[in-house]
Amino acid sequence: MIKRQAVIVGGGPAGLAAALRMKENGIDDILILEREHLPGGILRQCIHDGFGLTRFEESLSGPEYAQRFIDRANEAGIECWTDCTVLDVSKDKVVTAVSKVHGFLQISAQAVLLTMGCRERTRGALATPGTRPSGVYTAGVAQAYINLQNIMVGKEVVILGSGDIGLIMARRLTLEGAHVKGVYEVQPYPNGLPRNIEQCLNDYHIPLHLSHTVIEIRGRERLSSVVVAACDEHFRPIPGTEEEIPCDTLILSVGLIPENELTLGAGIELDPRTRGAFVDENCQTAVPGIFAAGNVLHVHDLVDFVSLEAEALADSAARYLKEGGLTPCPLTVVAGSDVGHVIPQKVSGTKDFTLWLRVRRPLNGVSVVVRQGGRELLRKKMRKALPAEMIQLSIKAQKLTQDADVEVSVE
């Protein structure tokens, strides 16, 4: 069996940033395993700009943002095995993988960094009735066809869901000559960032229909139409509002799910709120030496924050390797009223940490309040808080005690 200090599962933005920071922390024996032919993860197909605004103060495309990390990783001599799919991560940190070049592999690691990213919810998850014609794609699949493989997906397009990738694809399809007839969102508010509503829909006069959904998919071989309807507050279609829209393409942008089969295989429990692992302030899961960061932990809006989180993970993982363990984190971080999810879920009370959270619904003129045992640690006023925008709060160790749980709420 191969032995390595640190094995990183996934060579996307989180894995690359974690590897580089591990190296800076003096950990040299690092191996990245990447299932695609090239590193970079989802950024390879995200050719629009807007990446790196906080990190590099430049508006880069996804491939450019990724290349900066890939170049640095190459210079640092970090090993990345591509075309290599990890099949299993065990509790005792044995990573099983298969690769075209290396065949069947078993690697015993002192630390395993889970940076597998996320995947898209599909039509199956929505259970939309109708036929099963071609022409129904998730937004990311359509993006890969158009931006990586030079295959146009259709001409007359309806988009279901207002996630950021769907909005980006509305613009991309329009630029490539398709007619995007409209975006339908079951919630009464958009799921994507306001700037994407503006620059991807409004700029191209693409209508956004809130509180609407697709209730039927029609067509024999190719999609021929969808039926849309207005929905009530319980997301039930309102009879009499049905409308048939002829189209040959339906793009689904209905949510992202952290890809955690390997995590579950290692016996690590998932938080039903984030659908990622429960982690402490060190990004460490319940299994000592197994860490998670990036979209596999919770779905981010911005890659800049994925990189940041992965670097925080790497600092902790390096300390774990050097010191043989990390400070226990017995205090629970509770997601209180109107908080959708919060990361980390466990803290030590002895260290500064960053809280990442999302609100459950759009709110105006609220405060995000962090308390410990009824004592207020931090209050952040917000003119508006949207589920589409992740909120970051820095909590200082000096304000914390070690005797009570921490609660975050919006009021």
């Binding site: 050719i47 491939p63 493989q149 630029l175 700037r195």
Partner: protein, 122 residues
């Protein structure tokens, strides 16, 4: 006149309430930084956008290289610029930063490569 703008300069996406006369901005509220006022002013005078697309690459390890504009162009010229980009074919290898079209349509912006595509080994 009053209008609400969504600033697209950064991911904050500030909702800016602006009062203006013609192209003269009288007041803005809601922006977290000065770029918000500059954005509103620009939107009133001459709204501009950058775009991203791809060009065909011959003899490369991938069929496409992504491109983007290095400076924004007038919003109403976006489809003209797309037509210019669509006409272009590159030969592998191409590198990030390579200029595909210099000063596209005289708009003061270049179309640049944003993805390295290596030459395919024979």
């Amino acid at each position: 006149m009053k209008r609400t703008f969504t600033c697209i300069v950064c991911p904050n996406g500030c909702e800016i309430d602006a009062e203006y006369e013609g192209t003269n901005v009288l007041s803005v509220t809601g922006n977290l930084c000065p770029k918000g006022k500059a954005y509103v002013t620009q939107e009133l005078i001459d709204p501009r956008r950058t775009i991203a697309s791809s060009v065909r690459v011959l003899g490369g390890t991938m069929p496409l290289a992504s491109v983007r504009l290095n400076r924004p162009v007038p919003k109403d010229r976006i489809f003209d610029v797309m037509a210019e980009i669509r006409r272009k074919t590159m030969k592998a290898p191409v590198r990030i930063g390579d200029v595909v079209i210099d000063n596209v349509l005289g708009l003061g912006s270049d179309v640049v490569i944003t993805k390295n595509v290596e030459k395919e080994r024979a």
